[in-house]
């Protein structure tokens, strides 16, 4: 009950933020602006439209994650709003989990809103909608949820700017962990190989969630891959939130 109350309040706070509306409106306008770009790619219009639409959903989802996730815990402490919550018999892990679920709800709302805009465009111009598009959007949402877990983790000890930078670096490295491992092996330095291996094994491999190419080119995203990626994302989310709780548990507020 306490977690639910905190989660719904957090989601409400995000959804009532005027900046979010600006992000959603700009995102939707951009999705529809593909109408003017598509004719330039002769014979590739459908792929371009899909690629463009899914990219907009991804970029704006990351923007919202960085904008909201990174300042959530920090703001609670700085503005002292947490002072009237923790003394109300709320355990610290409940607070972190409630805040996280609130962000996840808000991300679900953002992704659903932009996806709806994208699908409306497809329906309006009579373009085929495949199941793969939904699978790609679902994996995109899992990636955003994982990033927001990291954002909350960083915000338990860093400022919003610091958390934002860390989360963005993590997003960037996360998409290249396999390349970093390969680079380490080619570097011919034990130290670099060791560091590259640590990055590969500790940081999440976000390329598991990058299925836009498959969705665009109608390549199969099979159920096994989908289930594995979701389980992989959820596993990391639990681990990251558990570490965030451990830090927050001993923090003087």
């Amino acid at each position: 009950m306490r977690i639910l109350a905190i989660a719904t309040n957090t989601a409400r706070e995000v959804i009532r933020d005027k900046v979010l509306y600006a992000i959603l409106i700009i995102g939707t306008i951009l999705i529809f602006s593909v109408r003017f770009i598509a004719p330039m790619s002769v014979g590739e219009e459908l792929r371009l439209i899909r690629d463009f639409g899914l990219s907009i959903i991804s970029i704006f989802g990351i923007l919202v994650t960085l904008f909201i996730g990174t300042r959530l815990i920090y703001d609670e402490i700085q503005r002292k709003t947490i002072y009237t919550i923790i003394p109300k018999s709320v355990k610290r892990w409940e607070f972190i989990l409630g805040k996280y679920l609130g962000v996840a709800l808000a991300l679900l709302f953002v992704t659903a809103f932009l996806s709806l805009g994208f699908l409306c465009y497809m329906v309006f111009f009579n373009l085929p909608i495949t199941l793969n598009i939904f699978k790609a959007i679902l994996l995109e949402l899992i990636e955003l949820m994982l990033l927001s877990a990291f954002a909350i983790f960083f915000s338990t000890f860093a400022s919003p700017i610091g958390s934002g930078i860390f989360t963005f670096i993590l997003y960037f490295i996360g998409h290249f962990t396999r390349d970093i491992l390969m680079f380490g092996k080619l570097a011919r330095s034990e130290f670099i190989e060791f560091i590259a291996a640590q990055i590969y094994y500790v940081l999440p491999n976000l390329s598991y969630f990058a299925t836009r190419t498959e969705a665009v080119h109608d390549l199969d995203i099979n159920s096994y891959y989908l289930s594995f990626s979701i389980a992989y994302g959820l596993f990391y989310i639990v681990i990251v939130l558990a570490i965030a709780v451990l830090i927050f548990q001993k923090k003087d507020l």
Partner: protein, 308 residues
């Protein structure tokens, strides 16, 4: 039953690159009985808020322990019996007063019906009934303080911990808060509050604890604390000769003269009686005899200066 039991409580903050240590609370021992109104007094930086934050589980002590109703802080089941108003409270500005109280009530698992009734009662009690549908961002400082008191009472707690509850309130608001505190006591609740508005403490507190430099320097009822200090008596007379004035002045602590009257200040009541006799004997007139008890404020200032 003991509502608050603090034993050897110490809080050391470390700050800066060199981890410089600051002792905010220093070996504090304190007990507050259930049903008491206890005033926690001290200048800025004395350690009042730090102590309160330990009691409410927001920060952790470096040494010692704090028990509320016999349970170690922050025992979650015990914390359900606590209501807390922080210093300079801030609330979610995206919510209305009603929505905010509803959020807190949901944390305590109140049913929708119970929430509605409780919030309605509370907004009436703190004088926010007409503003409960407004966003908290539009509230004045006094309204935020009233909302803070309402949220502290949302779970009908047995122990209220208020950090500077009169802060930002006008005289009417302060009277309302004092009335709320007295009503809480009448209903068997324990109230522990910090303030630097001393007349408020004198008006409502059963006992007072004074904190200076993180240490408890005085504790007791207002009467007990002020008993340590001397009363003064101001005797105002007229129509007496300079010779008599000089004779009385030898025993007086101070002499104030106006065009027609002479006022003698005594800390010893015996000299006052002798003065009255002497004035009458020499045909003078007694205008007034005014006993002047030292206020808590004067006591407070004296103790602060002593500590310095």
């Amino acid at each position: 039953m003991t509502a608050i039991e603090i034993s050897n409580l110490t809080k050391i903050y470390k700050s800066g690159f060199l981890q410089r240590k600051t002792r905010a609370v220093d070996n504090l021992n304190l007990e507050v009985e259930a049903g008491e109104i206890f005033g926690f007094l001290g200048p800025n930086g004395a350690g009042k808020t730090t102590t309160i934050k330990i009691l409410t589980g927001l920060i952790f002590p470096s040494h010692g322990k704090a028990l509320l109703f016999g349970e170690k802080v922050p025992d979650v089941s015990m914390m359900r019996k606590i209501g807390y108003l922080p210093e300079h409270p801030t609330f979610y500005s995206h919510l209305t007063g009603y929505e905010l109280l509803d959020f807190y009530a949901r944390i305590f698992g109140l049913t929708p019906g119970a929430r509605l009734k409780r919030i309605h009662d509370l907004v009436e009690r703190v004088g926010l009934a007409s503003a409960s549908d407004l966003r908290v961002s539009s509230y004045s400082k006094g309204m935020v303080q009233r909302l803070g008191i309402a949220q502290a009472l949302i779970n009908d707690p047995d122990l209220l911990i208020f950090d500077e509850p009169m802060e930002g309130l006008d005289p009417i608001g302060r009277k309302d808060v004092k009335d709320i505190i007295l009503k809480l006591k009448k209903n068997g609740k324990t109230v522990f509050f910090s303030t630097h508005i001393l007349p408020d403490i004198e008006a409502v507190c059963d006992r007072v604890g004074m904190l200076l430099g993180g240490r408890l320097v005085s504790i007791g009822s207002i009467d007990e604390l002020l008993k340590e200090t001397l009363e003064t008596l101001a005797v105002t007379v007229r129509d007496i000769s300079e010779e008599v004035i000089a004779k009385i002045a030898e025993s007086a602590d101070a002499v104030n003269r106006s065009e027609t009257n002479v006022q003698f200040i005594f800390t010893d009541a015996n000299f006052c009686d002798k003065t009255i006799d002497l004035v009458r004997k020499h045909g003078g007139k007694i205008i007034s005899v005014i006993p002047h008890a030292k206020t808590l404020e004067e006591y407070f200032v004296k103790r602060v200066e002593e500590e310095k």
